[in-house]
Symmetry: C2
Subunit: 387 residues, 2 copies
């Protein structure tokens, strides 16, 4: 099969090099803004060269961004070319539009590199979902923040230093907020839930808390309770809604999640009959993500996946029905109204003032934190796993 | 697609119930020795009813055993019916014969339930292997022994009590030696290596040590070194051979392997570019394994897998090129010749006499243990992970 790559950055090069091992795939053309040699393939800056080439049966979007990528991908689908995309933003924002366009034009749209990178998550999630109901999913879905929390845990460094370290290793963008504030994990969680539950979640309704306010004393507290602090995403079916949220959480030291080092990811699905399955691997990187793109291309080329109708229904997120205890560390030593009545334990040290709450709904805790931060902007909270 | 099940035990029923959810698959007939109702399908004790039915396009072997299963499966392949098998013994002993028969008759042979059960291991291993070289694989491949070691670690019970507990939960056969002596893990490891490396290993050449001689003091020693005792299988490419072995090992408490509870499994593959991927799940059980069989059937019915030639070359196992330190606990307090010169540490307590060796090849250590056991049959040894 002859294909075209849109973009030739890290992931594009990783995919390109992997595809060189596979004689059945030929990268006929690469689209780049500034024309330069890209392996042995033809190179163009004009997308219409690709769109009008009937030999090119598949277009792989490894370029990032939203508006232009959406334009190219829709045009490719309408020209009856299969599309493989590693573009999480595009897939999230335009999931319904793109899956419809693919189905209407009788071509495949594959995007398993969008969440998990080198961890074969979305692919296996989709596979598990076809043989019975998935009840819940979640895990460590962002490698950058896991790298930072792991570094803080191992070396006792603070947030700023951990962030610099992640930046120096190229794990994080110059503008780190999507990672650090949990939005990247939330996006992957929403994509996963949509695939598993056949829903279309509104990301804006998810409760999302990142790791920006974490301090070494929080990590120390986790250790004192035989726990590890991780950024955890979770989605599960409730009666007539879906619970879906991202928050820092004290996971038990004996859990699979606690042992995820550096920028690795761990994705878990749970089904009544299937029990628990977990997938561990690199969440990103030139080769891990590039290989995931190449796998999607191979699946289409070999006919292992077929054009399919994706039935999705808009579904509201409701986090009022899931509750657990919380650790809340205040930035001031003033008693916090609202928190006092929820607390079942209070710990005062020289540097921190901590409440442990009774079980509180995820919705209520995230809302309370937002209120309290008007007076105490450095307030940090984390979910606690029941012992 | 109309199919037949050979057998209706635990796994057969798990597969049957899962297939009821999938309207595209109809279980037309079930083969059982003693005819009894099996769901709503026709039932027969005569295999020729299935073989001669042109409507039945796929036969699923969920019956266990070797000779009869081999006869049925070969006959089905030659009658140009696809075969899905959960029969590890059959696949291991007759891998070459069965894959050839399938390819010659233009049908698929799938067997991903043979190793991993509810963990989608063989499927993902095969998938990873097509996009580049897999350098090593391994993990916790036997749920029964993991359950026993985990119970010993958690409750301080001895081997016999752990075995009884596993038997009472139905995790182990009345004759437990295949599990307890490591042969079941070795078989899964050989199957995995064959799939990943395109080889045909001679299982008899693998060094295999089980957990029959483990005592609470060994588990305590692991804890004192911040380790956990697990039964680990491992295979990796050496220059002109494959290292492949199973042995008890002290894994670091911070490893993924250390946190595998109960009868769960953890399978890992490593590639130069892919890095590490791990797969965690139930290793066995009615639904987990039944679902794996149903997944294979679906893949064939949907055309996601195609008949393929499996190129395999006989490959010798050579464990002389892989070395690490060992813990050796003697059953007597007599100095052991051969061991003295390898030891770099000696620990004597009231109940045990322990050597820690310098790095020794897996081949040499297993051979030495065999020799020493002539005088000291209760001698126990375990590999040690480098700190």
């Amino acid at each position: 099969m002859k294909i075209a790559l849109l973009g030739f950055g890290n992931v594009g090069r990783g995919a390109y090099e992997t595809l060189q091992l596979l004689p059945e795939i030929e990268v006929k053309c690469v689209l780049v803004r500034n024309v330069r040699p890209c392996g042995t393939s033809a190179v163009t800056a004009d997308f219409s060269d690709i769109l009008s080439d009937p030999e090119i049966e598949l277009v792989a979007d490894v370029m990032g961004g939203y508006e232009i990528a959406r334009f190219y991908v829709l045009a490719a689908l309408r020209a009856k070319k299969h599309v493989v995309s590693a573009n999480k933003e595009l897939l999230c924002k335009s999931f319904s539009e793109l899956t419809s366009a693919a189905f209407e034009n009788g071509v495949c749209l594959r995007y398993t590199a969008c969440a998990g990178g080198g961890t074969p998550w979305l692919f296996n999630l989709e596979r598990a979902a076809r043989c019975g109901e998935i009840e819940a999913l979640g895990g460590i879905m962002n490698g950058t923040t896991n790298f930072m929390l792991h570094a803080m845990e191992q070396s006792g460094i603070g947030f700023d230093e951990a962030l610099k370290s992640a930046q120096s290793l190229g794990y994080v963008e110059a503008e780190p907020s999507a990672d650090v504030d949990g939005r990247d994990a939330a996006r992957k969680c929403a994509m996963s839930a949509n695939l598993a539950f056949h829903t279309m979640l509104n990301e804006a309704e998810m409760n999302v808390e990142g790791i920006r306010r974490v301090r070494p004393c929080d990590i120390e507290f986790a250790k004192s309770r035989n726990c590890v602090l991780k950024l955890i995403a979770r989605a599960h079916r409730a009666n007539d809604a879906v619970n879906a949220y991202v928050e820092p959480r004290f996971v038990k030291a004996s859990s699979q999640e606690a042992q995820v080092p550096g920028n690795y990811n761990l994705f878990t699905l749970e089904g009544k009959r299937l029990k628990r399955q977990s997938f561990f691997g690199q969440g990103a990187g030139m080769y891990p993500t590039g290989i995931a793109v190449a796998q999607d291309i191979l699946d289409v080329a070999r006919g292992s996946v077929k054009p399919q109708e994706t039935v999705i229904a808009p579904q509201s997120v409701n986090n009022q029905s899931c509750a657990h205890r919380y650790y809340v560390r205040c930035g001031t030593q003033q008693p916090h109204e609202g928190l006092m009545e929820l607390a079942c334990e209070r710990l005062v040290t020289a540097e921190s003032y901590v409440y442990i709450t009774k079980p509180v709904s995820v919705f209520a805790m995230h809302a309370l934190a937002q209120t309290l931060r008007k007076a105490d902007p450095r307030l940090f909270f984390a979910g606690m796993e029941e012992a």
